[in-house]
């Protein structure tokens, strides 16, 4: 899955930014967006996020996929909220009345969740995993956790290949998933086999690393430096966000 991600090309303007700044910007954007209290300002935040994503070219596709793949969680929330928030009834369905304020709240949550996800995907998701790990370490995340993250990212795609191989073998034997015990058992064996293979792989990996003098520690070799473009970006994002937060409190 990781390999199928929409990575920003290196030459793109965003590639020149300090990775720490990108992480912090996404955090700041999330903080401001979550704190918004009005539908109108949430809409502005969403437009801001969409513009940022669109400027990278991958925005619309990712956005569509996210909206289409609305998770069960959001779906339940969006369907129930109009009926549970009290207010002027908008539509009446028998004993139930959908209130305008409920619909507004549902839309507000949908906008906030999607704009934060978009910014996160655009600014942080497009970082190369190694760069992301180093930036996190430089931001003070415990080194062990960073190592775990980097190693996991490295293995995900190998294991995914393993998974696809096993799944293909099942399909070759005419396995079609249905809601029955046979399917659940088969998936259980698939999961078990995946765990066995991954344990073997981790043993081999540890041995290979020992051969290369691994002493339980990676050195972080990088030279992240703050540049003028970073200052420009920080101002370019910080000022609109501050304005948004103030606008939300004012009216």
């Amino acid at each position: 899955m990781i390999s199928a991600l929409p990575l920003a090309p290196r030459s793109h303007w965003i590639g020149g930014l300090d990775p720490r700044l990108r992480i912090l910007s996404a955090l700041l954007f999330a903080l401001v967006t979550v704190s918004l209290t009005k539908l109108s300002t949430a809409l502005v935040a969403f437009v801001l996020a969409a513009a940022l994503a669109a400027s990278l070219g991958t925005g619309l596709r990712v956005l569509l996929r996210r909206f289409l793949a609305l998770e069960g969680f959001m779906l339940i929330l969006l369907v129930t909220l109009p009926f549970t928030v009290s207010g002027e009834p908008l539509v009446t369905l028998g004993p139930l009345a959908a209130s305008g304020s409920g619909v507004a709240l549902a839309v507000e949550i949908l906008l906030k969740a999607n704009s934060i996800a978009l910014v996160l995907l655009t600014l942080v998701g497009s970082l190369e995993p190694v760069v992301l790990g180093h930036a996190l370490a430089r931001l003070g995340v415990p080194e062990k956790l960073v190592h775990l993250l980097l190693m996991t990212v490295g293995q995900v795609h190998l294991l995914r290949e393993e998974f696809v191989r096993l799944r293909q073998a099942m399909r070759a034997r005419a396995f079609v998933p249905r809601s029955n015990r046979h399917t659940w058992n088969s998936y259980g064996w698939l999961l078990g086999m995946l765990l066995v293979r991954s344990a073997e792989r981790s043993r081999r990996m540890m041995a290979a690393m020992r051969c290369r003098c691994f002493r339980g520690h990676f050195h972080l070799l990088d030279s992240i430096q703050w540049r003028r473009a970073d200052t420009t970006w920080a101002l370019g994002l910080g000022l609109p966000l501050a304005a948004l937060a103030i606008l939300d409190r004012l009216s």
């Binding site: 996800a117 993250l149 490295g154 809601s179 659940w184 259980g188 991954s198």
Partner: protein, 206 residues
């Protein structure tokens, strides 16, 4: 299903969740030595990949959570492993969010720790042929406890979310059934094929 997006929960809940999960992470990282990192990373990656399996159930389909099995196999290490998987899902797929990361971690990690506490001691003296029941218990317990915690986080965030929390809780029941069958079979399989995998993880990080 267990990924609460940003913009839903209230601020006090987000802050509490963030602080508590940071504490849990620090405790569990202290117990994890560098030598065991590759194994933890591998299992974290396995669970990340296995969560992509979509299991049909009636007209719909569900994704496995696998936090019960992680607790059973990994013990305390399940906390950073789950956290890493959640971070990757948030920044690469847009599932969940960034500020709710703490709450989401807790919702998955606390049931995993519960499974580790209750069921891991049974691993060592597991009679042949009984692996299924232990795995099924871990799977069911993990999903049900996660469902309860997700519903609780919603319910605590506002009066208007209560009905949604109740509906959500009901949707976790079929998932618990499916997951307990799958994890039960997986543990029975491991017990037969690679018992050292169960015992090895047990002996070294408990």
């Amino acid at each position: 299903m267990a990924h609460i997006p940003d913009g839903v929960l209230s601020a006090p809940l987000l802050i509490t969740g963030g602080l508590v999960s940071a504490g849990l992470l620090l405790v569990s990282l202290r117990q994890l030595d560098y030598d065991r990192l590759p194994q933890a990373a591998m299992l974290s990656a396995t669970f990340f990949v296995a969560a992509l399996i979509s299991v049909p159930i009636g007209p719909s389909s569900v994704h496995l959570l696998l936090n019960g099995l992680m607790g059973l196999l990994l013990g305390w290490t399940a906390v950073p492993a789950l956290f890493v998987a959640l971070v990757l899902q948030a920044i690469f797929f847009g599932f969940g969010g960034i500020l709710v990361l703490g709450v989401n971690t807790l919702n998955l990690a606390l049931p995993a720790l519960l499974c580790a506490l209750l069921l891991r001691p049974l691993l060592r003296r597991l009679a042949p042929g009984r692996g299924f029941w232990l795995g099924a218990a871990a799977g069911g317990l993990g999903v049900l406890a996660t469902g309860a915690l997700v519903a609780l986080s919603l319910g605590l965030s506002g009066e208007a979310f209560r009905p949604a929390a109740q509906v959500l809780l009901v949707t976790y029941l079929p998932l618990a059934l499916v997951e307990s069958f799958v994890t039960g079979t997986a543990v029975a399989f491991l017990h037969r094929v690679a018992p050292d995998l169960l015992l090895h993880t047990e002996a070294s990080s408990g």
